[in-house]
């Protein structure tokens, strides 16, 4: 153990850890937080695995979410089913490009980028890729923040289903892809949530930051 605490010294190195619940700095040896009795874990190495599993599930579900129709629209007895992409294509066709861009961003780009981003992030942690931890962290925050906006599509569908219900004349119903898409969003959110971000510092700090910081 080093005993020269500087700004890059980790708590773990000086025998301190932080309560995950109440953020009390506690001695690393103690098993539980003296304040809130939460079990103290210095580093959750399992979280990496969990995050990977969730991310892979999300990636798998991304396929049906995009291939299957997301809505079933009955218009005067004619049933049309739309996938996410055909919906966007339809919007582009009808000259509603701004909405198409929003929908494309929220429904296709963001989930995809999120999965890619998380993959890079996890890969960086798992395989110790030489990437700047600050950049990674910034990307991670962006992913966490923007991820929720992916629910826009589902939000629109649920609203439409509730409002448009006129039997044979006009009716909208969610199709199987909606579930898959919802799961993708949920799983990517969880994947970002479960990961113990401290692992990043352990693995990458020493290697690269010194060089980037210096």
């Amino acid at each position: 153990m080093k005993s020269n605490p500087n700004d890059s010294t980790l708590g773990k190195e000086i025998g301190l850890t932080c309560c995950p619940t109440c953020n009390k700095v506690t001695c690393a040896e103690s098993a539980c937080c003296s304040r809130c009795d939460t079990k103290l874990i210095i580093r959750d190495y399992g979280s990496l695995q969990k995050s990977w599993a969730l991310l892979i599930t999300a990636a798998i579900l991304l396929i049906p979410a995009n291939l299957y129709p997301i809505t079933t629209l009955t218009n005067q007895g004619q049933v049309t089913q739309d996938t996410i992409f055909s919906g966007i294509a339809h919007l582009v066709k009808t000259d509603m490009i701004p909405i198409a861009i929003i929908l494309f961003t929220a429904s296709i780009l963001v989930p995809l980028l999120k999965i890619i981003g998380l993959t890079i992030y996890l890969t960086a942690i798992s395989f110790k890729l030489p990437i700047s931890k600050k950049n990674l962290m910034m990307g991670f925050h962006i992913i966490e923040w923007i991820g929720r906006w992916s629910m826009l599509d589902l939000f629109v569908i649920s609203l439409t289903v509730a409002v448009v219900n006129m039997g044979q004349l006009l009716d909208a119903k969610p199709a199987p892809a909606a579930t898959a898409f919802a799961l993708v969003i949920l799983l990517t959110q969880l994947a970002a949530k479960v990961i113990d971000t401290r692992l990043l510092w352990d693995r990458l700090e020493t290697k690269n930051d010194s060089s980037t910081n210096t």
Binding site: A53, T57, Q76, Q78
Partner: protein, 874 residues
């Protein structure tokens, strides 16, 4: 002290259970993928003539309303003859896509027979599929029309053969008792001779079709027009437009099986057929197909075909089934056309329609074949009734004329001749045995006129008879109420017409009476005589009597009214329209139209025995009932007087003017008037005064205003003379009649001023009398007025009375006295007036008698107005 604890060694799990999640997702995705590949469906290609209403990805394939596929692609075929439609069928439908499977496009179709595929209006056209048998395949040719039977629409298919299609079409309905039970689903030519119409009958009605059911065409409107009328028949409106087939069903026959063959008849009559028989003849000149077979004028069948045989012609005929029982072994058929002879034309309509075959029923079993006779078989002769008829003259009846009853021939006239005494015409007649019972005792015959025009006020009736009546005449039998049969050889009467006959019987029941009238009374021979508006007799004759210068009217009254002819009976002429109008209202009495035009006489009864002989014909009902007497008046020619002007006594009508004639020298008016019987005696004194009353408008008011409307009338006042007269000289001015014992006296003045007839005399402002007359004094020195004061005021006047002129307005203007204006009442300003004042109390000493003279003062002395003697009322 640090407590040494045994370290908890946790074996690090290689894999977290969280990895199950991707595995599950993977498995799920894989399963979904496999499923979607498995269920991706079968692709088939259907060749349609066109792709109307089909959209890629939208047009569905439906089976019984269930979506089983969707159009995936449409492309034009290689020969450019149609389109290939690629359809992605549901994977579950693959077992049904076989060689026999049929596809067709369902489009909305509105036609006369109904609307099909209404659902496609919303959902768009769709392709319907009917699964079939055979090996699996993936290319199909689409059906042009929907196949006949679709499962769930089970029914009976029958084939109906016909010579021509008519207006039948696919969709034409099939009716059973006018209920649509199915429809025509197709038709095709069979070996260029017959048309086979395929009809579909719904399952619930399939049992109605029996093996012997008859099908007939009910298309359009069947119009059967002949000279006897037009018959129009049609089934439902749809069948008029779209055609239709109807069929019959019998109870006992077996139900028809699918694909049973029937033949289609043109009409219901043909379908039901009847009895077919054959008529043999040597020729068939006037017979054609459809020549009718008639029985008693009713068509019972027709000829259907003519066939040339070795020995002549055979006619195939059909007797309608409802008349089939008429046909018997001894039935006979003969040809009958229009019969043109001097008698006239019998059945002239057959000149247009052609001959008919007549038929008589008979007895015995019907045969298959009958000879067609050329003439009517003679009916068996029967015993006829021979009679003799008598007539005054011969009304144009010659031998051979028909005897008729209700225009049916019942016999013939055999001969006509004068009787031995040469007084009458005699006819020998023969009545057919069938009708001999019609001729009873009391019956008589009337000669029929071929053309009779009876025009009277009730209307015009034109009757014509057939031509034989024109040439030979005819006699009509009129039956009597007597039921006693007449014997052979009896004699009966003949009359020229029914009115002669009526007169003959009527004349036995009449009473004659004579009336006298000053004029022709507007009646003619035959004018009716009424009693209470019912005709009871008629005028028989009118004669002018030179000596009396009057007319004698002979009337006859029916015997049943004899009791009306008593000493109270009066007669008056009917006026067409009598209007009794007065200011009290209008009473209009209109005589029966006949009486109004022909004139007429009315019989009435008085309450008491009449004064004169009862022979006089009065001018009006009123005059008759009042037993009026006639007077003659003479008026100056200036008088305006009209006929009917009333004669009044104090407003009561006591008579009326009958005629007004200006004398030849234009100087006077000769008026003939009636005085009603009740009053005549009161006004027949020689000095009775008759004066004209006409409206007089003056400042004093309007006199007799009612005459503005009614015209002038005559006022009468009885005289006192013992001598009676019926001729009077009328007065222009109504003289004053002192009816109420009024006090009359004379007032003289040098000037009349505004005094006029009727100018009132006022006592203290109350009118007590008036000026009745005024005249110039003979020597011209003044005027004198005859004045009367009502009886009740006579005590106010004595020889001390003074009279002054109240007329007008007196204005007295003086320099110092100022202006004084004196007026009386408004009435006196306008009409003038005479003031009256009396100084002393009236007593027997100073009482005045009639014709006492006063003089009129032009001004009033104020002193007079202060006189106030207390008069004792008498």
């Amino acid at each position: 002290m640090t407590q040494v604890q045994t370290p908890k060694v946790v074996k690090k799990k290689l894999f977290s259970p969280i990895w199950l999640l991707p595995i599950i997702a993977l498995a799920l995705g894989a399963w979904l993928g496999v499923k979607s590949i498995r269920e991706s469906g079968v692709e088939v290609r259907i060749h349609f003539p066109n792709a109307t209403g089909m959209d890629i990805g939208k047009t569905l394939v439906k089976y019984q309303g269930l979506t089983v596929g969707k159009v995936a692609d449409i492309s034009i075929d290689d020969q450019l003859q149609g389109v290939n439609v690629d359809v992605l069928m549901d994977y579950r439908s693959s077992p049904f896509i076989n060689k026999g499977t049929k596809f067709w496009l369902v489009t909305p179709k509105a036609s006369i027979t109904g609307i099909e595929g209404l659902d496609t209006l919303f959902s768009g056209n769709y392709i319907s599929i009917l699964p079939g048998e055979g090996e699996s395949r993936s290319f199909f040719e689409a059906e042009i029309t929907a196949p006949v039977i679709t499962p769930g629409n089970e029914g009976l298919i029958v084939n109906i053969t016909s010579d021509k299609l008519g207006s039948l079409d696919v969709g034409s309905p099939l009716f059973y008792r006018q209920i649509p039970v199915g429809q025509v689903v197709g038709y095709r030519l069979d070996n260029s001779q017959k048309i086979i119409v395929t009809a579909f009958i719904q399952q619930q009605y399939a049992s109605l079709v029996k093996v012997d059911s008859q099908f007939w065409n009910v298309s359009g409107i069947s119009i059967n027009a002949s000279l006897s009328g037009i018959e129009v028949r049609s089934e439902s409106l749809a069948s008029i437009l779209a055609g239709g087939i109807s069929f019959s069903s019998s109870d006992h026959s077996d139900a028809a099986q699918n694909q049973h063959e029937f033949s289609l008849y043109d009409s219901e009559e043909q379908a039901f057929g009847g009895i077919e028989l054959m008529l043999t003849a040597t020729g068939a000149e006037s017979v054609s197909e459809h020549t009718a077979i008639m029985f008693r004028g009713i068509k019972i069948g027709h000829v259907t075909n003519k066939i040339l045989t070795d020995d002549g012609v055979s006619l195939l005929a059909k007797i309608d089934s409802q008349y089939s029982e008429l046909l018997a072994g001894s039935s006979s058929f003969w040809l009958e056309g229009a019969d043109i002879s001097l008698d006239g034309i019998k059945h002239p309509e057959r000149l247009l329609t052609g001959s008919v075959i007549n038929f008589t029923p008979g007895t015995g079993e019907p045969l298959q074949q009958y000879p067609l006779l050329t003439d009517q078989p003679q009916p068996l002769n029967t015993q006829k009734l021979a009679l003799t008829l008598h007539s005054d003259t011969n009304p144009g009846i010659s031998a051979g004329a028909e005897l008729r009853f209700k225009q049916i021939k019942i016999g013939t006239v055999l001969s006509s001749q004068l009787n031995a005494a040469l007084t009458e015409v005699e006819y020998d007649i023969e009545v057919d045995a069938d009708f001999s019972s019609l001729v009873t005792k009391g019956s008589y015959f009337i000669a029929e006129s071929a053309l009779s025009i009876e025009a009277d006020l009730e209307g015009v009736a034109v009757k014509t008879r057939d031509l034989s009546t024109f040439s030979l005449g005819a006699l009509s039998l009129v039956r009597s109420n007597n039921n006693q049969q007449i014997v052979n050889g009896a004699s009966l009467n003949v009359f020229a017409n029914s009115s002669d006959a009526k007169n003959y019987f009527k004349n036995k029941q009449r009473i004659n009476k004579q009336l006298t009238s000053k004029d022709g009374a507007d009646v003619v021979k035959g004018s009716p005589i009424y009693y209470k508006k019912m005709q009871i007799g008629q005028v028989e004759q009118i004669e002018w009597q030179r000596t009396e210068n009057n007319f004698i009217i002979d009337i006859s009254i029916q015997k049943s009214f004899a009791s009306l002819l008593t000493d109270k009976t009066v007669f008056w002429r009917n006026s067409a329209l009598s209007i009794n109008a007065s200011l009290n209202g209008i009473e209009v009495e209109v005589a029966p139209l006949q009486a109004a035009i022909k004139g007429g006489i009315t019989l009435g009864l008085l309450d008491s025995a009449m004064i004169d002989s009862g022979k006089h014909l009065y001018d009006s009902k009123f005059l008759a009932l009042s037993q009026s007497t006639t007077i003659a008046l003479t008026f100056p020619a200036t008088v305006k007087l009209e006929k009917k002007a009333p004669i009044r006594y104090l407003g009561h009508k006591v008579g009326e003017v009958h005629s007004v004639v200006l004398s030849k020298d234009l100087s006077e008016l000769n008026v003939e008037a009636y005085l009603y019987g009740d009053y005549a005696a009161s006004f027949n004194q020689q000095d009775a005064s008759f004066s004209i009353v006409d409206v007089k408008v003056s400042l004093a008011g309007i006199e007799a205003p009612e005459t503005i409307l009614t015209g002038p009338y005559i006022s009468v006042f009885p005289g006192v003379s013992a001598q009676t007269s019926s001729e009077f000289t009328g007065l222009i001015e109504k003289p004053f009649h002192n009816i109420n014992n009024a006090l009359t006296f004379v007032i003289s003045n040098d000037n009349l001023g505004s005094i006029n007839k009727g100018t009132a005399i006022f006592f203290r402002g109350i009118k007590v009398g008036q000026v009745d007359e005024y005249r110039l004094i003979a020597d011209g020195t003044g005027v004198e007025m005859t004045v009367h004061v009502d009886n009740q005021y006579r005590h106010l006047i004595n020889n001390t009375s003074v009279f002054w002129d109240l007329s007008g307005v007196k204005v007295d203007v003086g320099l110092f006295s100022g202006a004084q204006i004196e007026t009386g009442s408004l009435e006196t300003i306008l009409a003038g007036g005479i003031g009256l004042a009396t100084k002393d109390i009236t007593s027997s000493d100073n009482m005045i008698n009639n014709d006492y003279r006063f003089s009129l003062s032009s001004t009033v002395d104020p002193l007079w107005l202060e006189w106030a003697p207390k008069q004792a009322a008498q």
